[in-house]
């Protein structure tokens, strides 16, 4: 064994030396390389893993760009082309620099640039990732040809992406800090830096900015973490079995030598916990699976610090979707709210008419696993508007109005829902209504109403601007779906 051990050591040394040589002498010919490999294979055959073998560790280098890119390889610039970013915005500028001789130059295009409306890209290491666990921030110096607010910059390829959205560039060099939410997660990161800069705050006109001295650093002055989920709000909502919920509003706020800096953080920085995993549970991507009836509250920690905000779910059962409308010729339907057709634009699904309206919901509609549904609660009356900033609806050619309604409560004698249409809102306005009595509806079941437009008694229905649901609080909790005019 002694002999073997020595041999193994020799072998490892040889390997290391050769690796170093191979790096240095790139034009080493393949013949000699092959011979070396054969030799190494021969002496190493039949041996077990030696005690001295070490597992691969990733570079702990922090520098990304000083005078040039540091260790990023050759093919490392990836513009966000699918999002509409312009591809050729990036160059190394040897005339402008914060320190020494060069900087990264980004030319943000005009909003109407045919090549792309903004500058956005990520620098991804062409090679293996880096171990960033000993750093606490990404820092860089930047300046621009004009002051520009709300630039987004960050790092992280995907799973551990971090973005700071409130960066303001000025015309002189300023050092910026993007704190790492939890560096212990970054054992192998390839996404070194990304940026997204548009012209929303510069009247659509492009500008140039420069970045220099980009590096991960251990500042030692980053502390006092205040993580948050759901933007720090304690949200209470109904949920349905098999309808997952994506957790959003995930952020980490850290104090950098006196200044609070908030970054958005990918869900994988957080550890999620459920009070009842038989009801709901969240995975590392922040997706909450709803698996059973009951109540469960999802909370989160980031690096063992409790995040502000939580999600309390009340799961009654599976979601009962409205019946799917039939396929129709596009010319035969004007859809206000349906996933089955292309919807027209509306001003709102809840006008919140003060002071008499109590109705909540519809702002915005629920997103049930990609299917939009309106849930009006505390209903007395509520209107869907199409008269302020969007065209009114010309229903002259249509014959019927379709609405699916599900009443989520017990129905008493005397309960009703009236559907009212207003034509030419605020300008010789006319209205007509159709009332549906209690026996039209059944608790917890979808009812499809197909109302002949003639029943509204409107002389002119070419400028429909409001559609009201009126219950006078007799029925207070309804789901509404598939609102469309058709012929």
């Amino acid at each position: 064994m002694d002999k073997n051990g020595k041999l193994e050591r020799t072998y490892i040394l040889t390997l290391e030396n050769n690796t170093i040589k191979m790096k240095n002498i790139k034009h080493l010919n393949f013949k000699s390389l092959f011979l070396i490999l054969v030799f190494m294979t021969m002496i190493s055959c039949e041996r077990e893993l030696s005690n001295e073998a070490e597992f691969a560790t990733f570079s702990k280098a922090g520098e990304i760009f000083t005078d040039n890119f540091v260790g990023l390889g050759t093919n490392f610039f990836f513009p966000f082309i699918s999002d509409g970013a312009k591809a050729d915005v990036f160059s190394v500028d040897e005339d402008v620099a914060y320190e020494s001789s060069a900087s990264i130059r980004i030319d943000v295009p005009n909003a109407n640039d045919p090549g792309g409306s903004f500058a956005g890209a990520i620098f991804i290491i062409d090679g293996s990732g880096r171990n960033l666990t000993e750093f606490d921030a990404l820092t860089f110096w930047a300046k621009a040809t004009q002051g520009v607010p709300n630039i987004t910059m960050g790092f992280g390829e995907s799973k551990f992406q971090v973005a700071r959205n409130d960066i303001s560039f000025s015309t002189n060099w300023v050092k910026y800090i993007i704190p790492i939410p939890d560096a212990s997660k970054l054992t192998e990161e390839k996404g070194m830096l990304f940026f997204s800069a548009g012209t929303a705050n510069t009247d659509g006109f492009g500008y140039t900015f420069w970045l220099d001295e980009i590096k991960f650093e251990k500042l030692g002055t980053i502390a006092q973490a205040q993580p948050a989920m759901l933007n720090g709000v304690d949200v209470v909502q109904d949920a349905f079995i098999d309808i997952p919920i994506q957790l959003t509003g995930l952020s980490q706020t850290l104090n950098a030598a006196g200044q609070n800096i908030t970054v958005t953080g990918a869900p994988s920085y957080f550890d999620f916990k459920s009070t009842d995993i038989d009801v709901a549970r969240a995975n590392e991507l922040g997706l909450v699976s709803v698996v059973g009836t009951g109540e469960a509250t999802i909370s989160a920690t980031l690096a063992n610090v409790a995040a502000k905000g939580s999600l309390a779910l009340n799961v009654i059962g599976s979601f009962d979707f409205a019946p799917k409308p039939p396929e129709r010729n596009a010319n035969d339907v004007i859809s206000v709210f349906s996933d089955a057709y292309t919807n027209i634009a509306v001003d709102y699904f809840n006008g919140f008419f003060a002071p008499f309206q109590t109705t909540l919901g519809g702002a915005p509609p629920l997103d049930v696993n990609g299917d939009a549904v309106i849930n009006y609660k505390d209903l007395n009356f509520v209107g869907i508007g199409t008269f302020q900033d969007v065209p009114s609806i010309n229903t002259t050619e249509m014959t019927h109005l379709h609405i699916d309604i599900k009443v989520n409560e017990s129905i008493d004698t005397g309960d009703f829902i009236t559907i009212q249409l207003l034509n030419s809102v605020g300008n010789n306005e006319t209205s007509g209504e159709v009332r549906f009595e209690a026996d039209t509806f059944t608790t917890d079941e979808w009812v499809s109403l197909d109302i002949p437009l003639a029943d509204f008694g409107l002389a002119d229905r070419s400028q429909i601007g409001l559609l009201f649901f009126i219950s006078d609080a007799t029925i207070s909790d309804i789901f509404v779906d598939n609102i469309y005019y058709y012929k």
């Binding site: 251990k218 500042l219 030692g220 002055t221 502390a223 006092q224 205040q226 104090n255 030598a257 006196g258 609070n260």
Partner: protein, 282 residues
């Protein structure tokens, strides 16, 4: 940064114990020599120590309290916003530490409560090495301090009675502390003062030692193993009023004309954690 700074207290301690070197060390300190061989501390005879080992209220043989908003009800002359109490919500000893906690709450007309401990009438001393190991709170409006006040302020009105601020700190600058001396002609905004900044570290994430060594005609200020300032009669623009007994004060003030009010980012409660207070004589 002052050249006096860089010195290891631990390397020098051995030297201090050798009498032959003692004279030399003292000479260096008193002559304000900026030589690299500057010692940080010389006084080794422990005369008072509270290690905060007894749970509950602070040891009443050392500590008494200032209660309220100051003798004139004006936030101790600084428009400070807190009401000082001796309740456990604001001051207690726990797990070997003294905790002075500033709370945001309505109390006796104030919006904040906190605590101010002092050794007045219990431990007063002229000259010596006064040292405490402290982790500081953070956030705009927090103004903790570890300081000494002349024991004759009742008759010899401040600033004539003298004030030595061993450590003051503003919560929105968590990397900076400062040490000051106040006397007639050099008080409040005109006090003789100097900042000390941490590099790659901050005062609210770990414990640091704050101390002075005070003798006839000098006060040396140090943080951890770094001596960062010396104040002598030549430095002050008035009478030197530091040749009589002083007592210790530790407090966490909230708001007022100096730190400004807490803002929306200030997190409450905030606690100053004190590991020990020790006083040495030469």
């Amino acid at each position: 940064m002052n050249k006096m700074n860089k010195n290891s207290i631990y390397n020098r301690i051995k030297v201090v114990f050798i009498p032959a070197f003692l004279f030399i060390s003292l000479t260096i300190v008193q002559s304000c020599n900026t030589d690299e061989t500057q010692t940080v501390t010389n006084f080794r005879t422990l005369v008072m120590a509270d290690e905060f080992d007894n749970e509950g209220a602070p040891n009443s043989s050392f500590w008494t309290f200032d209660i309220g908003r100051g003798p004139n009800g004006d936030g101790w002359g600084n428009q400070e916003l807190q009401y000082y109490t001796n309740r456990t919500e604001n001051v207690k000893v726990e797990n070997g530490f003294l905790l002075i906690t500033a709370q945001e709450e309505s109390f006796e007309g104030a919006s904040y409560t906190s605590a101010r401990l002092k050794t007045e009438g219990l431990f007063e001393q002229q000259y010596g090495r006064f040292e405490a190991r402290i982790r500081l709170p953070y956030g705009k409006g927090l103004w903790p301090a570890f300081w000494l006040l002349g024991n004759d302020c009742d008759t010899n009105i401040w600033p004539n009675c003298g004030e030595i601020d061993i450590m003051e700190y503003l919560g929105d600058s968590p990397t900076v502390v400062f040490g000051s001396a106040h006397g007639p002609g050099y008080s409040a905004g005109e006090a003789e003062t100097k900042e000390y900044s941490l590099v790659n570290d901050r005062f609210d994430t770990g414990f640091h030692i704050f101390g002075i060594e005070w003798g006839p005609n000098y006060i040396n200020y140090y943080v951890d193993d770094v001596l960062y300032n010396q104040i002598t009669p030549e430095d002050v623009s008035g009478e030197w009023v530091f040749d009589h007994p002083f007592y210790i004060i530790m407090n966490v003030a909230v708001g007022g004309s100096f730190p400004g009010s807490p803002d929306s980012e200030t997190v409450f409660p905030q606690t100053m954690v004190v590991d020990y207070v020790r006083v040495y004589q030469q």
